[in-house]
């Protein structure tokens, strides 16, 4: 029995030694950024219609759906001089606290106007917590860093037309 244990142990040593010659599987980030899937849930983006009006009407359904309560929406009325969105109201204040957000995508599911979607950007580290509270203009803007995305033809179903045509 001791022999079996000893022999097994020596075989174990052989296993580990063999691994050295198999090479590493490490992907060296940030030199190599692995492409994410097209539906990868990264940082949020607020979308606009084709004519430039914001899609968001400030209805707060995203804030209600959010499991961590990290979205703050304060709505205001669209006036003739200041028409921001395509409805009666728009989001005057729209803030997402990205340090709390768990990137679950419930807000994207809840939004009736496809105004908030989760993009592919995951590189948004900051040095202070207050910098991680993204305001509306920051969310409306595009991502600062480019994230490689895997080929949608191979990795995704086609987008329905209500998502692509506004």
């Amino acid at each position: 029995m001791i022999g079996a244990t000893a022999f097994g142990t020596i075989r174990g040593f052989g296993v580990t030694l063999k691994q050295i010659f198999r090479g590493t599987v490490t992907e060296q980030y940030p030199e190599y950024k692995r492409p994410v899937y097209p539906r990868f849930r990264g940082r949020h983006r607020l979308n606009r219609h084709a004519n430039g009006l914001e899609k968001c009407v400030g209805c707060s359904l995203c804030a209600a759906a959010c499991p961590v309560d990290c979205i703050r929406v304060v709505a205001a009325e669209n006036t003739a001089e200041n028409r921001v969105s395509a409805g009666e109201r728009y989001a005057r204040i729209y803030e997402i606290n990205l340090s709390r957000c768990i990137l679950c995508g419930y807000c994207e599911l809840a939004c009736p106007f496809d105004a908030i979607t989760l993009g592919n950007d995951y590189e948004f580290s900051e040095y202070s917590r207050s910098d991680l509270i993204y305001t509306k203009d920051m969310l409306l803007a595009g991502p600062i860093k480019h994230t490689p995305v895997a080929d949608p033809e191979l990795y995704d179903t086609p987008s329905p037309n209500y998502e692509t045509d506004s």
């Binding site: 209805c59 707060s60 359904l61 804030a63 304060v74 709505a75 409805g87």
Partner: protein
């Protein structure tokens, strides 16, 4: 009253006993089963069965019946949607029909989250729509008043709003026009809905058709913090829920105390919350010396106040507004009585306990047989919800007699006390009727009531103490005069000296600060200190101005006109230091031991004056204290009203509901402010060839005011009535003529 007869009905297999005549909706609720409703609201009067949501199947009737209009009968077997396929289909179809033309507005509609249509659609409605046509589209939203917006596309025509306007507020301004599929809710000639109760339709509307513009798009219902408080703007103390978001008060809703307000609120209480954020609000103490304004820190301000009190050497007078809570009034009184050792006070009104033996809740008005109102100031302007109770009483068959310049029994202004005595006498016919009736309620609304003493004499004579359901109510013009007087009494154990002259006048509250009588005292005083919410023109007469907190920002108690002690809760933190904390610090400097917390002050006050009830026992819906034993009433002998000098017509000033420092700082309520009008009787107008709506000049010694004439058929000839803020300095006798 005999106990109501109980009958047994079966709802979804559950037997339940209910009083005879109960509607099926309540009967099912008694059995723990929900019957969904849209148009049914028992407070608005009888059910109409307009929405067809409460359809139930009753054994023995072939078609589905509306539960709201069907009274329960002994042995009835009812099946709701839970057990009846037909009823479920019926309700499903009702929701489907309602949603056919209902716009897809939920994301942008303010009602979302608290919308019965949403909730009932989830519970009883179809999951998908079969509507493939264009929905009807109407212009939206239409502001039917500066405070309420109407969205006709969302309206499901339940008629709750029009029934409220007709049957509760009885102002008949909101009506349904056109008919059939083109029915719309509107006001006549698209005039704004100008009435003191218009805000209630916002709470009544089950969809987002009627929404408050003040609150438009501010927040969603799940984003609030709630505080169960009490309105502090008039003496009724309607129970409210104040909702705030991120520390700012957003709106006020009714909390429905069935004995006090029945779920209604007047527009002043409902829409006044923006006064907290008016620009004129002062946020730090200021000192005015030699014409210069200086902002002080609290330490300096308290030191200044202490030195002012020291300088006055016992000649300190405290002027209270009647808007303070008991605790703040007690602390102020303790400072003056124990700290400054002075008994000088100007109470807003005399408020005696003479009417305590005849205490009755406001809901007793609904069941009264005879109601007598001594009305010199209109009840609607003083205590609006009492006016709603009176209207309800009249609809329930009570006989309402008003005695006063514009009443059924016309008396000169100031003569109400004598009228009281006459009623108490043997010869009055009305008095005899009152003695015979079972449920009699007397109401006094006006000046010269001696704190209810005259009414108490009458009540005693009529023997109202023995009769259950009978009582007397005195309507004061300030929210908490009784409480403030009690606090003053309890503040010190021994009397100090009465000041002969005014070394220091301490004015508490904006009402007192704007009162011309107090202003005159301030001019006579050597020094004056004001404790107000708004800057106003305190700079012209005060030496030191301290910021006050509003009723929405304070914890405390107030005693309403029934005698009920109700608790206020803080809805939002004030941006300034609460009074009790710096009054305690001031007390420390003057050697007066005062607790700095509400519970502490209340405990002290309660031990002395309130039979030691605890703060926590006040609860959310305060009970009415029990009646005391009637004793001898000290009432001054009523005299004939003095002769009027200055003009042939006697001027009756009344404080309009939408006046006062709080309402002045709410821009949305500006349209409800009293119009510059003079009410004149038909006879007087005829004699002067004045028609309704003409511009006239009202003159008294040295002063003339231009107003619009309004003929009031009920007004007694020889009197005119003008809202106090348009009267300026007119003398009691005026003449009215065309310009």
């Amino acid at each position: 009253m005999s106990a109501p007869e109980l009958i047994t009905i079966t709802v979804d297999g559950r037997p339940v006993q209910v009083p005879k005549g109960t509607g099926l909706v309540e009967a099912a609720a008694a059995a723990g089963i929900e019957i969904p409703v849209f148009c049914y609201e028992p407070r608005i009067g009888s059910a109409v069965g307009a929405c067809r949501m409460c359809l139930v199947e009753i054994e023995g009737m072939p078609k589905l019946q509306t539960g709201c209009t069907t009274p329960a009968r002994d042995g009835m077997v009812v099946h709701t949607a839970r057990t009846s396929e037909t009823a479920a289909q019926g309700q499903n179809a009702t929701i489907e029909f309602l949603l056919l033309n209902h716009p897809l507005d939920c994301p942008v509609c303010d009602k979302g989250g608290e919308c019965p249509l949403q909730d009932l659609s989830f519970r009883y409605g179809p999951g998908k729509t079969r509507m493939t046509f264009r929905k009807r589209s109407l212009e939206k939203p239409i502001p039917i008043s500066p405070t309420i917006a109407l969205d006709r596309e969302r309206c499901i025509l339940c008629y709750r709003c029009t029934r409220f306007s007709q049957e509760v507020a009885e102002d008949e301004e909101l009506v349904a026009v056109n008919r059939g599929a083109l029915t719309m809710i509107a006001t006549f000639e698209d005039e704004p809905y100008r009435g003191p109760f218009s805000g209630n339709i916002v709470e009544l509307c089950p969809v987002g058709a009627l929404t408050s513009t003040q609150y438009r798009f501010l927040a969603r219902p799940w984003e609030y913090e709630r505080a169960a408080s009490v309105c502090g703007l008039c003496a009724i103390g309607c129970n409210i829920t104040v909702q705030s978001r991120e520390g700012r008060v957003q709106r006020v809703l009714s909390r429905n105390h069935p004995e006090v307000d029945r779920g209604w609120l007047c527009d002043k209480g409902r829409f006044s919350s923006p006064h907290l954020y008016a620009e004129e609000r002062i946020d730090s103490p200021r000192r005015y010396r030699d014409g210069a304004e200086e902002e002080l820190g609290w330490d300096e301000a308290l030191a200044e106040l202490e030195s002012l009190i020291g300088e006055a050497q016992g000649e300190v007078v405290l002027a209270l507004s009647g808007t303070e809570t008991l605790e703040v009034a007690y602390s102020l009184a303790a400072i003056v009585r124990r700290g400054a050792r002075s008994d000088g006070v100007v109470l807003p009104e005399p408020a005696l306990d003479a009417l305590d033996p005849y205490r009755v809740p406001l809901s007793a008005l609904a069941a009264a047989e005879e109601i007598v109102v001594f009305e010199e100031s209109p009840v609607l302007e003083r205590a609006p919800v009492v006016d709603l109770w009176l209207k309800l009483a009249r609809r329930n068959g009570a006989r309402l007699t008003t005695i006063g310049p514009a009443g059924e029994i016309q008396r000169a202004p100031g003569d109400a006390a004598r009228a009281c005595r006459e009623l108490a006498g043997e010869t009055s016919e009305l008095g005899q009727r009152l003695r015979k009736a079972e449920r009699v309620i007397l109401i006094w609304s006006g000046r010269g009531g001696a704190g209810g003493a005259h009414l108490a004499v009458l009540a005693r004579a009529l023997g109202l103490h023995e009769k259950d359901g009978s009582g007397a109510l005195y309507l004061p013009s300030t929210p908490n005069p009784r409480g403030v007087a009690e606090a003053w009494e309890a503040a010190a154990d021994e009397p100090s000296h009465q000041p002969e002259q005014i070394g220091l006048l301490l004015v508490s509250g904006d009402e007192a600060a704007n009162d011309p009588a107090i202003r005159k005292l301030a001019e006579r005083a050597h020094r004056a200190v004001a404790l107000t919410l708004f800057a106003g023109d305190t700079a012209s007469w005060a030496d030191l101005v301290l910021p006050a907190t509003s009723y929405l920002e304070g914890e405390g108690t107030m005693r309403n006109l029934e005698g009920r002690l109700q608790r206020l809760r803080r809805a939002a933190a004030a941006p300034i230091r609460p009074e009790l904390s710096w009054l305690a610090e001031l007390g420390e400097r003057l050697g007066v031991a005062l607790p700095a917390s509400v519970t502490g002050v209340f405990a002290e006050l309660s031990a002395k004056a309130l039979d030691d009830i605890s703060f926590s026992s006040l609860g959310d819906r305060a009970p009415l204290p029990a009646r005391t034993k009637p004793g001898p009433v000290e009432a001054p002998e009523p005299e004939a009203p003095p002769a009027v000098r200055g003009g042939p017509l006697e001027l009756i000033r009344y404080r309009a509901l939408f006046s006062g420092p709080v309402v002045e700082h709410v821009p949305q309520l500006a349209f409800q402010r009293p119009l510059p009008e003079v009410e004149i009787s038909a006879e007087d107008a005829d004699r002067r060839a004045i028609a309704d709506g003409d511009e006239v000049v009202v003159r008294s010694t040295g002063i003339s005011v231009r107003l619009r004439a309004r003929i009031n058929a009920a007004l007694r000839p020889g009197s005119v009535r003008i809202a106090a803020e348009h009267c300026s300095e007119l003398a009691p006798g005026v003449q009215v003529s065309r310009p």
